[in-house]
């Protein structure tokens, strides 16, 4: 039962930013490192901005991902253009990296249905809200790619808590039986809202759950974007080559609350979160850049400024959205509305017009 030793946590770069697996030396190009860094600061800035917008009442409840950027950016960067992404409500760093539009994500949290629409030409499914239910979908989407004979793959995100749901199991089993080209990317941040992983499961790792499906399971340091990127690439490669799914467990941490509606002091000592900053995924790349001579103050400043501008622009766009269109309540339930919906829509629009004329 000591499966955890079969799934040791893998790292490529340690917390101090030193390369510990020399094999990767040549694969880690300057361009790759700078791209890591650019994405990381971009998504972290976005996340903090979004949290502030919620504080100011400019968007609704928001789920922060600070601390998990390494896992999300690294895995998303491993995708190819035509791949599919199934993110959760906490995976905007992944979807942004893969090409999602910032104003759309903000609109999602502003309660706008426009927030669920994928960017043109990119397969990004709206964030899954009912926990773990996206896994069977991701398996099916991958089965369809296989059926069509493409080389596209699917990445499916989910948390440690999600592993307790039946849909986790059914999705994993389907994917393994049908050798579907999908990578199940778990972010183990040790908590499902307030519930620590020790109460969520009896197993010490999530990776070992791969044994149930006889698929490869990999446990990695999710704050080491290097190992995240290369292991996800490998898993995607296996998928594309017809070898079926992989379960990746990226061990990470969320520093903050579960969402802006949550008060983590009820269930954990926030000091621990502060201590975790020692393993921070963004700082680690910074250190790596400094250790290996990629750091350039000017470039970094420039990038930070660009990111800042981009995000401010996104907020402006989000806030400039025309007010919600009442028709959207009715128009996307079916391709053609049923008579019930059509009648309800007509009645409601008449009601609104009546109100409007009353009030003026």
């Amino acid at each position: 039962m000591g499966y955890e030793k079969d799934f040791p946590m893998q790292q490529i770069v340690d917390k101090d930013g030193f390369l510990i697996l020399e094999d990767y030396k040549d694969k880690i190009t300057r361009d790759l490192v700078l791209t890591f860094y650019r994405h990381l600061i971009r998504v972290r800035t976005f996340d903090r901005k979004a949290k502030n917008l919620q504080r100011q009442g400019r968007i609704g409840t928001y789920a922060m991902f600070e601390g998990q950027e390494g896992a999300q950016v690294g895995s998303a960067m491993a995708l190819k253009e035509n791949d599919w992404m199934y993110p959760t409500y906490r995976d905007h760093a992944a979807s942004i990296t893969f090409g999602h539009s910032l104003p759309t994500i903000l609109a999602y949290w502003k309660g706008r249905v426009e927030g669920g629409v994928p960017p043109k030409g990119k397969h990004i499914v709206p964030p899954s809200v009912p926990i773990a239910t996206q896994l069977p979908l991701a398996a099916g989407t991958a089965m369809a790619e296989k059926y069509k004979g493409t080389n596209n793959a699917v990445i499916c995100y989910f948390g440690d808590g999600a592993t307790s749901e039946g849909d986790f199991h059914e999705g994993m089993n389907f994917a393994s039986v049908f050798k579907a080209p999908v990578v199940f990317f778990n972010q183990n941040n040790s908590y499902a809202i307030s519930v620590p992983i020790e109460k969520q499961m009896n197993s010490k790792t999530i990776a070992q759950k791969s044994a149930a499906y006889a698929i490869p399971g990999v446990r990695i340091d999710g704050n080491d974007i290097f190992v995240v990127y290369f292991e996800t690439l490998k898993a995607l490669e296996r998928a594309r080559n017809g070898h079926g799914p992989t379960l990746i467990e990226a061990v990470t941490w969320r520093y903050g609350a579960h969402t802006t509606a949550d008060d983590p002091t009820k269930y954990r000592n926030q000091e621990e979160s502060e201590k975790r900053r020692e393993f921070d995924p963004v700082t680690r790349v910074e250190k790596f850049m400094k250790n290996y001579g990629y750091w350039d103050d000017e470039w970094v400043e420039n990038q930070k400024q660009l990111v800042e501008e981009e995000i401010n622009q996104a907020v402006i766009e989000m806030e400039a959205m025309p007010s919600p269109n009442v028709s959207d309540l009715f128009d996307h339930i079916f391709a053609e509305p049923t008579w019930t919906i059509q009648e309800q829509k007509n009645a409601y629009l008449t009601h609104l017009r009546g109100e409007a004329s009353c009030n003026h």
Binding site: V125, P126, G140, M143, A144, Y147
Partner: protein, 325 residues
Amino acid sequence: MQSLTLIQAITDGMRTMLRERDEVLVLGEDVGKNGGVFRATDGLQEEFGESRVIDTPLSEAGIIGSSVGMAMNGLLPIAEIQFMGFIYPAYEQIMTHATRMRYRTMGAYSVPLVIRAPYGAGVRAPEIHSDSTEALFTHMPGIKVVCPSTPYDAKGLLISAIEDPDPVLFMESLRLYRSVRGEVPEGKYSVEIGKGVKRKEGEDITLIGWGAMMPVLEKAAMEAEKKLISCEIIDLRTLYPIDKDIIAESVQKTGRCVIVHEAHATGGLGNDIISIINDTSFLYMKAPIQRVTGADVHVPFFALEDHYLPTPDRVMEAIEKAIYF
């Protein structure tokens, strides 16, 4: 034209569409090599291969969930749930994914999925094999529900369901599978979803039903004729959206109505129909609408199922109650 049973017509519908479009797949428990526990998919795997007629693991959420993922990705899956009583493990997948994906993406993704499910009591099946829980799906926005009572309609509605750009729950009466037979055209044709059909013209009272209840209504109507009560019979065929016009038109003529279904009274579709009549035909009604339905009890172990199911006698009683109100 071929004369087929209801289940043969269903097989024929699937075969027709599997031939017509490569995107059509059939999947479910035992649908492949075994040809389905009722033989609805008999011969399909032989003809179309294992990649198109797929034996899945025993996993309803997996079947529906993966079908949704396929449907979003350009395929046209036909998922079989072995019995309607075993659809509930997939309820979440239907409720929050199959039916919501179009809305959540404003149409960027849609889910052209057909879920086939044999339903209903009356064949002495073991417990929990006889549910008729259409009302648990008609209350879900984003899915249509159909239920044919003739082989012609079965094939035509199935083809419409497969071509429908949105999810359709296709309910198949276990009891009718082999007990009705009729002419079915070869090749492709369709029956419009959302339209009921008048099975019999009448003057005094409107009988409304669908699926396995149609023969019950017909027998009751014959009894009623003997008592000089002329019944109009409507087969709804589609349970969401219900054909409001055919109901209104008929009850406005007859002023009286009996609704018959297997499902429990409370929350049953009978109440939706009463509500439609309330909205459209209030001033026309000469008597309270009568319902003959399953009680608010579980579909029983089969030794009592005949006492659960509506019978022509009970329908006849309801007719008389409405007539002599």
